[in-house]
C-alpha cells in the first residue's frame, strides 16, 4: 500500500526533535452503501478516504498531525508538525529500522467490491417485501446495506510495520408499525468482518420479518413499570450490559486517571462468582474482530474478570509503556484523523450452567428484556443505563405482556456483584458502535441469559 522506505524516512523526520516513540498510521478506506426507504431504493453512496496520522511521544505528551497528502513532502511536513506539537527538545538523528513485520489479510471470501450493485439493491427490496408481509400495521420500512474495505499500515520506531486488510459487510432493517396506541418501532441488524458471503448464511428476509414482528408486537405494549425490579436479560444483545457496566471502567486510560470505580481493585472480588468477563479480538468474523490492532499489536483473548475476581485491565501501547507491561491489543482509532486509545473489541460474559427457562420460571415478578439497544456509563461513579427495545413483564414465573421502550439504570459494581443466575445459552449480540471521546469503533458483545435481582426500570407506570 505504501513504500516501507518512505515510512522509515517519515519516522526519522518525526523524531527530528528527539522523542521516545514515533508512529505513522496510513489508512485507505473505501465504503459503499445503499439505502431503501419509503418504498424505494433511495440512494447509493460511495466513499473514499485515505491519509496518514503521525504521532510523536515525548515523556507523557503526544504530538499528533494528520494529512491526506501521502507524498514524500506531504508526509514529511506532517511529521514535522507532529514533532513540533510534541515539543521535544532533544537531538534528532535517530535511525529507524522496520524489521518487525506483521500482517493480517482479509478473511472475506467474496469481496463486496466485486459484487454487482444490482445484487446489493436486490437485498434491500427483498427485506422490504418481507417486512411488509407482516401485515397492514407495518407502515414504513427502511433498510440499509453497507460494506467497507479498510486497509492500514502502521509503522513505529520500535521497528514494527504491520499491514492490515479488513472487509466488513452489514445490513439493517427498521420497521414502523401503527396501531391504536400510536407508532412503534422494530429494528434488527447484522454485521460481520466478512465479505458478501455473509448473505449465504443469513437471509435478510428473516431479519426483516423479525424486525416487523417486533414492531407489531410492541403495539400492544403497556407502559413500563417504574422502580427497582428483578430483570432477566436474554442472551445476545444483553452483552451491552457488560460493555457498559464494567468494560469501559476496565480501560487502562480511565483507570490511570482515577476515573474508574475499578481502579486499584486488581485481585479483588468485584462481581458475582458466576461472572467471567472476556474481551477477545481473536473471534474470527465477529464485529469486533481485530487480528492486529490499530497500533500493530496482535489481538488476544483477555480475561478481565474470572469467577468474579478482577484479573486485568485493557491497554493500548502508550498506557502499557507507562505501566511497564505488554499491551493487550486494544489500541484502536476511528480513522487516521484520530489518536489511538484503549478500546474494547468483542466483550462478553461466558456461559453458565442454568437452563434459561428455569431463570424465568424462578422469577416471580420482574421484567424480561428480549432486546437491548445502546447504553452509556459514567465510569467515575459506575452508574450505567441501557435501553430496552423489546421487553415483557414476568408474572408468576411466566413471560406475559409486552412493555414500552425505556431505560434501565444500575451501578456497575453493584449489578455485577448481584447477578444471581447465568444461563447455558451464550450468544453474541448485534453489531454495535462504541463511542468514546468522540470516536466511534465497531464492537461486539455477547452474553448468556442472566438475572440481576434489582435494576431500576425507568417506566411511567406505578
Amino acid at each position: 500500500m505504501i513504500d516501507h522506505d518512505l515510512l522509515r524516512r517519515t519516522l526519522e523526520v518525526a523524531l527530528g526533535r528527539g522523542g521516545d516513540f514515533a508512529e505513522v498510521f496510513v489508512e485507505d478506506v473505501r465504503t459503499s452503501s445503499a439505502g431503501f426507504d419509503d418504498g424505494r431504493i433511495e440512494e447509493l453512496v460511495t466513499g473514499r478516504d485515505r491519509g496518514a496520522g503521525i504521532r510523536v511521544v515525548v515523556g507523557g505528551g503526544t504530538g499528533f498531525a494528520h494529512t491526506a497528502d501521502l507524498t514524500d513532502t506531504g508526509l514529511a511536513e506532517a511529521a514535522r508538525v507532529a514533532a513540533a506539537a510534541a515539543r521535544g527538545a532533544g537531538p534528532g538523528g535517530r535511525t529507524v529500522g522496520l524489521d518487525r513485520s506483521r500482517r493480517s489479510d482479509t478473511v472475506a471470501v467474496l469481496d463486496p467490491a466485486d459484487v454487482p450493485k444490482a445484487r446489493k439493491v436486490a437485498l434491500l427490496q427483498r427485506a422490504d417485501a418481507a417486512a411488509r408481509a407482516a401485515g397492514p400495521a407495518v407502515v414504513q420500512v427502511s433498510a440499509r446495506y453497507g460494506d467497507a474495505r479498510r486497509r492500514t499500515v502502521v509503522a513505529n520506531s520500535d521497528g514494527v510495520v504491520a499491514e492490515s486488510d479488513r472487509v466488513t459487510t452489514s445490513f439493517s432493517v427498521g420497521v414502523v408499525a401503527r396501531g391504536d396506541t400510536g407508532l412503534q418501532t422494530g429494528r434488527e441488524s447484522l454485521g460481520r468482518v466478512a465479505g458478501f458471503e455473509l448473505f449465504d448464511d443469513h437471509d435478510v428476509a428473516e431479519l426483516a420479518e423479525r424486525a416487523a414482528a417486533r414492531a407489531v408486537r410492541k403495539l400492544a405494549a403497556r407502559p413500563a413499570p417504574s422502580g427497582s425490579l428483578p430483570v432477566v436479560i436474554a442472551s445476545g444483545s444483553g452483552g451491552i450490559l457488560f460493555h457498559e457496566a464494567c468494560g469501559h471502567g476496565l480501560e487502562a486510560d480511565l483507570v490511570a486517571k482515577g476515573a474508574s470505580v475499578f481502579a486499584g481493585r486488581l485481585g479483588q472480588q468485584v462481581a458475582s462468582p458466576l461472572v467471567t468477563v472476556v474481551d477477545d479480538g481473536t473471534m474470527t468474523g465477529e464485529w469486533g474482530y481485530l487480528p492486529l490492532d490499530d497500533e500493530g499489536r496482535p489481538a488476544a483473548r483477555n480475561v478481565l474478570i474470572d469467577g468474579g475476581v478482577l484479573t486485568d485491565y485493557l491497554y493500548d501501547l502508550v498506557r502499557a509503556r507507562q505501566a511497564g507491561r505488554a499491551g493487550t491489543g486494544n489500541g484502536r482509532r476511528q480513522s487516521y484523523r484520530h489518536l489511538p486509545m484503549v478500546r474494547m473489541t468483542n466483550t462478553y460474559i461466558t456461559a453458565g450452567t442454568t437452563d434459561p427457562a428455569d431463570i424465568v420460571a424462578d422469577t416471580d415478578h420482574g421484567v424480561y428484556v428480549a432486546q437491548l439497544g445502546g447504553g452509556q456509563v459514567d465510569t467515575a461513579s459506575g452508574d450505567f443505563v441501557f435501553g430496552m427495545t423489546e421487553a415483557y413483564l414476568i408474572e408468576g414465573g411466566r413471560i406475559t405482556e409486552p412493555i414500552r421502550d425505556g431505560n434501565l439504570i444500575g451501578n456497575g459494581p453493584n449489578a455485577l456483584a448481584a447477578i444471581d443466575a447465568v444461563g447455558n445459552d451464550f450468544a453474541m449480540g448485534s453489531p454495535g458502535t462504541c463511542g468514546k471521546d468522540g470516536q466511534g469503533v465497531p464492537v461486539g458483545t455477547g452474553t448468556p441469559t442472566l438475572r440481576v435481582p434489582a435494576l431500576t426500570v425507568g417506566g411511567t407506570a406505578a
Partner: protein, 448 residues
C-alpha cells in the same frame, strides 16, 4: 497541497455535468487544533488540516452520491464517476432533486474571527493547562480532572450546482471544556464545564472551571430516592438537549415519512402555551449561525412553536417538495454526507427569571444535572422518553439532597404539554441552541 479556491473547484466540477444531469458539488477545507491537558502536562497536541468533497448526481429523479477526503484529481474524478454509477441503481423519486435558487437574500453575517489564525500554539497550550489547574485548585474535594481540552477550528466550504446554486460559507470556533472528578472517599462524581466562541478571546475559562467544579461537588453523597411523580427542572443546557430531540421530530424527513409523533399535528396545540420555539441561523449570537444552509440556500427564521401551537416543520429542498412547500433553509450536511434536515440554531422564546427564580416558582421538584442514555432511551418515532438522571432535589425553592441512579420518564408529547415554567435567561449552547431553564410537571421518577 496549495490552498485551492474552493468556489472555483466546486464550479469546475459542476461544469463537467452531462446534458440532462443534475450535479451538485460541496467542497470543504478545515484546519483544527486540539490540546488535551492532564496532570499539569500536555497529554496530546493535535494539529490537522482536512478536506472533503461530496458529489450528488440526480438524473430523472434518481440520486447517486459519492464523497472523498482529498482534492486529488484522480480521487475526485473517481468520485464523480461513482456518483453517476450509483444514480443508475436508485429508483426514481418524484421529490428528489437539487435545491433551486429561491431569491431569498443571504443574511450579512460572517461568523469568522480573523484573530484565530494568529493565536500561537503556546497560548492554546496555556489555555488548556490553566483550565486544568484552575479546576483542580477550586475545591479540595476535586480529586482530579479526567481531561481539560482547548480546541479550535476554521472551516470554509463552497457549494455549486447545475440549478444555479453558488454559495460559500465559513466559520471559526474555539472551545474550552473540562471534566472534573469530585470524591468524598466513598464515591466519585463527575462534572462538566464547557464554553464556546469564535476565538479564544471569547472564552471564559473561570466559568468553565467553576461549572465543572460545582456540578461534580454538589453530587457528593448522592443516592437514589424512592419513585415518585415530580416536577423536573432543566437548566438551560439540559433544556437545550431536550429541545434538540423535540426539534428532530419536527424535521421534514421524519414528518413526511410518518416517523414522528407530531407528523399529523400541524396547526394544533402540542405544547404548553408558555412554550415558543424557533430556528434562526441568521442570529449571529448562535454558534450555529451561518449565512446559508447545506444546499446553499439562505438561512432564515422559522417559527416551530408559538404559544404551544405547532406552526411549521423544518425542511430541506427534497422534503419541502414532498410536503408541497418551499425549503426552510434547514439542510444540514458535511461535504461527506447527503443533505439531511435539522435545526441549525434553535432558540426558545424567553419567559421570566433565571434558574433560581424558576426553582422558587416551582417550590418542590428535581433539578436534573445530567441525562444519560438519550440515544437508547428516547424513541423519536413513538415519543417514548426514559433516561437515566442525576441531580438534586428541590425543596421550598432551594436545592436539597443530591440524587443519582434514577430515571425520569414520560413521552415527548407529554413533556411539551407539561411545561409549567419557562425561564428568561437565554444562554447559548455549543449545539447552537439559545436556551432557558424549563420546569416540567408530572414526570415519572424511578428510583429505589
Amino acid at each position: 497541497m496549495s490552498a485551492p479556491d474552493l468556489d472555483a473547484l466546486a464550479a469546475d466540477l459542476v461544469g463537467r455535468a452531462a446534458p440532462g444531469e443534475g450535479l451538485e458539488v460541496a467542497v470543504s477545507r478545515s484546519t483544527s487544533t486540539t490540546v488535551r491537558a492532564h496532570g499539569g502536562d500536555v497529554e496530546s497536541f493535535t494539529s490537522a488540516e482536512s478536506f472533503g468533497v461530496g458529489i450528488r448526481v440526480v438524473v430523472e429523479g434518481r440520486v447517486g452520491f459519492a464523497h472523498a477526503g482529498s482534492f486529488d484529481e484522480d480521487v475526485v474524478a473517481d468520485a464523480l464517476a461513482e456518483a453517476r454509477d450509483n444514480a443508475t441503481f436508485a429508483e426514481s423519486d418524484p421529490w428528489a432533486g437539487l435545491a433551486e435558487p429561491d431569491g431569498v437574500p443571504s443574511a450579512a453575517i460572517d461568523p469568522w474571527s480573523p484573530a484565530l489564525a494568529a493565536v500561537s500554539a503556546d497560548r492554546k497550550i496555556a489555555l488548556a493547562l490553566d483550565l486544568e489547574r484552575a479546576t483542580r485548585a477550586a475545591d479540595p474535594r476535586i480529586r482530579g480532572v479526567r481531561v481539560a481540552t482547548y480546541g479550535d477550528s476554521a472551516a470554509e466550504w463552497a457549494i455549486a450546482s447545475t440549478t444555479g446554486i453558488r454559495a460559500t460559507s465559513r466559520a471559526t470556533t474555539a472551545f474550552l471544556s473540562v471534566q472534573a472528578l469530585a470524591d468524598d472517599g466513598a464515591s466519585t462524581h463527575s462534572g462538566y464545564g464547557v464554553d464556546l466562541g469564535r476565538d479564544p478571546d471569547a472564552l471564559r475559562p473561570d466559568r468553565v472551571a467553576a461549572e465543572a467544579v460545582r456540578e461534580a461537588t454538589r453530587l457528593i453523597g448522592a443516592a437514589p430516592v424512592p419513585s415518585a411523580r415530580v416536577t423536573v427542572i432543566l437548566d438551560a443546557r439540559r433544556a437545550a438537549t431536550l429541545l434538540g430531540i423535540v426539534a428532530a421530530t419536527l424535521c421534514g424527513d421524519a414528518v413526511t415519512r410518518g416517523r414522528s409523533p407530531f407528523a399529523d399535528r400541524l396547526g394544533e396545540v402540542v405544547a404548553s402555551p408558555l412554550l415558543g420555539l424557533f430556528d434562526d441561523a441568521t442570529d449571529e449570537r448562535s454558534p450555529g449561525a451561518e449565512a446559508v444552509d447545506g444546499e446553499g440556500l439562505a438561512s432564515r427564521r422559522t417559527a416551530l412553536l408559538e404559544g404551544g401551537c405547532l406552526r411549521a416543520f423544518l425542511h430541506n429542498s427534497s422534503t419541502a417538495r414532498r410536503a408541497g412547500i418551499t425549503s426552510t433553509g434547514s439542510a444540514i450536511r458535511g461535504a461527506r454526507t447527503l443533505p439531511g434536515v435539522g435545526a441549525r440554531a434553535l432558540q426558545v422564546v424567553p419567559g421570566d427569571g433565571d434558574l433560581d427564580e424558576v426553582l422558587a416558582r416551582v417550590g418542590d421538584g428535581f433539578l436534573v444535572q445530567s441525562m444519560h442514555g438519550l440515544h437508547s432511551g428516547v424513541n423519536p418515532v413513538s415519543g417514548d422518553f426514559s433516561v437515566g438522571a442525576d441531580g438534586l432535589l428541590v425543596r421550598g425553592g432551594a436545592l436539597a439532597e443530591p440524587v443519582r441512579e434514577v430515571t425520569i420518564a414520560s413521552t415527548l408529547q407529554r413533556l411539551l404539554t407539561d411545561v409549567v415554567a419557562v425561564g428568561g435567561a437565554l444562554e447559548w449552547q455549543p449545539s447552537g441552541t439559545g436556551s432557558v431553564p424549563l420546569a416540567i410537571a408530572d414526570v415519572a421518577l424511578s428510583g429505589r
